[in-house]
């Protein structure tokens, strides 16, 4: 994958845990796979055109199956001296720079699946609603380390609004 434009010279990116692939695939399987199975029943009974729906759903699942590992591997973050860098996305890419001093608060969140896998998401909030600075799929130890590090760095470089 050529991603030179979204690379920053002299920055080594941290990757998130590969366990996130499993969690995301499971989510897709539940929310798309189960409806696919359910729509097979009327398709068997009525036949012909009704097969279209499960076929589309299965295709979507297959696409997501192929896409998710690429998406997860595309997520990267780097802690620079004054900023947090977050890189994301395969089709729609983004590279976000969040200064520590702009941090208003940090969220650590995890749903039931994420918690079972021992992962959490760290999200940095600034005074701007459009800042999207979330890092999903961090191992719990790394999540708490990052949270403490961000809190500390934010306090040290605190800026006004």
């Amino acid at each position: 994958m050529e991603s030179a434009a979204f690379d920053v010279p002299g920055v080594t990116w941290n990757r998130v845990s590969d366990r996130l692939i499993g969690v995301r695939r499971l989510t897709v399987a539940v929310f798309l796979g189960v409806p696919a199975l359910a729509t097979v029943v009327p398709a068997v009974i009525v036949g012909s055109a009704m097969w279209l729906l499960p076929a589309v759903l299965v295709l979507l699942v297959a696409w997501a199956w192929w896409l998710i590992p690429r998406q997860v591997r595309a997520i990267g973050y780097a802690e620079l001296e004054d900023d947090l860098l977050i890189r994301k996305g395969v089709l729609f890419r983004s590279l976000t720079v969040v200064p520590y001093g702009r941090m208003q608060y940090v969220d650590v969140q995890a749903g039931p699946l994420m918690r079972r896998a021992g992962m959490a998401q760290v999200q940095l909030h600034t005074a701007s609603a459009s800042t999207d600075a979330s890092i999903p799929g961090l191992l719990e130890a790394e999540a708490s380390r990052l949270r403490d590090r961000l809190t500390e760095a934010g306090e040290a470089r605190l800026a006004g609004l």
Binding site: S94, T131, A133, A141, D148, L161
Partner: protein, 529 residues
Amino acid sequence: MSTPNPWAPPPSATAAEQPRPDAGDPPPDAPAAPGEPGADERIEWRRLHKVTPLLNAWKAAAVILGLAVWNYGEDLAQLDLAWAMKILLVVGAIVLGAIIGLVYGAIAWRRTRYGIGEESVFLHSGVLWRQQRHVRLDRLQAVDVTQPLLARLFGFSSLKIESAGGAGSNLTLSYLTDTEAQRVRNEILARAAGVRRTGQAPGAAPAPAQEAPERPLLELGAGRLVGSLVRSGFMIVTILLVAGLVLAIALTRTFQLAGALPGVLAAVGYAWSRFAGEFSFRLGLSADGIRLRHGLLEAKARTVPPGRVQALSFSQPPLWRRKGWWRVRMNVAGYGGEGEETTTVLYPVATTEEVALILPLVLPDLGTDRPLEVLQAALTGTGTDEGFIISPRRARVFDPLTWRRNGVRITDTAVLIRTGLWWRTLAVVPHERTQSLAMTQGPLERRRGLAGVDLHSTSGPVTATIVHLDVETARTLLLEQAERARRARRHAGPERWMSRRGGGEPDAAALRAGYAGVLPAVPAREEMP
């Protein structure tokens, strides 16, 4: 699972929970102790004006009357009673509502008290659900004095202190007498500015804070306001809709006004709210910041201290172009997310000359040697004149008309982003006010080697997005901008604006020598010093 638990509170949070002896604010769970909120700070607790329940009672009466008419209106019409009796019933409902409102208001008034400390403003209120709200003065974003019509007639005002916590993050004192509201505002602003009164014995009656002298700069005439509304984009849409409606009636020969009525009413309502809200708009400058006064029925006087404007935008609908008018809007952290359009307007209709006067109020130094020329290019220009970076030619697929107009210019102090050929817009974001930055690219953009850059500001009408730059240019811009913002933050003034060295009112002469002035129609090099 590993031992470090992310759900355990971080060490800093535990430290914060422990009582700090030096904290000036009373702990939130402590009972309200008027007169002695902290060991080292004495706050004089005050009440709102006695008339508050009366001014609020009519609201309760209106609600009860509305409910009664809504629920029992038809029953009342069918009741076999004389007209006099029916009118008496309605009057009774109003009186009952007023009495209930008055009694509740009186209790609420008794329970409400406010105080101004060295660090915070306090408001304790509530009848069933008690609330204690403390706003830190160094986090204050704006102070509004509002006079709703009824209160205005009797000489009362409501005072609102905005802080940066999104919608609803304000502290409202209503109602005070006009003079009291002004006195409280001046006191709050003086303390927020960091003006400390020295040589005053603690507990002594505080000397009234002097109002920072205000210099009026601009006043909007009613003629221009009406003209701007007639030529606004909203009016174009309305006229098109009405034309369509007339055409439909003419063609079908059926007259169905009922369907169009809500739309017409909404349009009239919007036009009226803009007219009444922006009527007699005045812009002034004082040491406490920019002061805006406006309103036909409900009068407002708003103060935005220095450094509180996060971003500015100048926009021009197509029909304003011949007049050279611009609508100036701002992002202020406290105003974000509040529905009213006028709240975020810095000046409703400014001529191009006035734009060059308003921008220096927010950005005293544009950070370039040729400020007027750069500003002119930013407002109306296209292409790479005056150092603008525009989309490369290959972006024509996405922006066939605007690719030369969409552009960005970075000066030493701010980012200027211009967009739109018909609906021109210029967004200005000072370097020290960007929250975070992002670079984005969709699949189609990638095929063309393009990318966009977003500067994230606090919520408000101004968005700072640069679209379809060359991808290498975009990345360089992103990284360099992060560095510039970092440097600018380091040198940014303190939150308490008078505590900086040489603080005070921006000198008018210095401003004019800077770049406030008449924009040259044609960039003229020899005019610059």
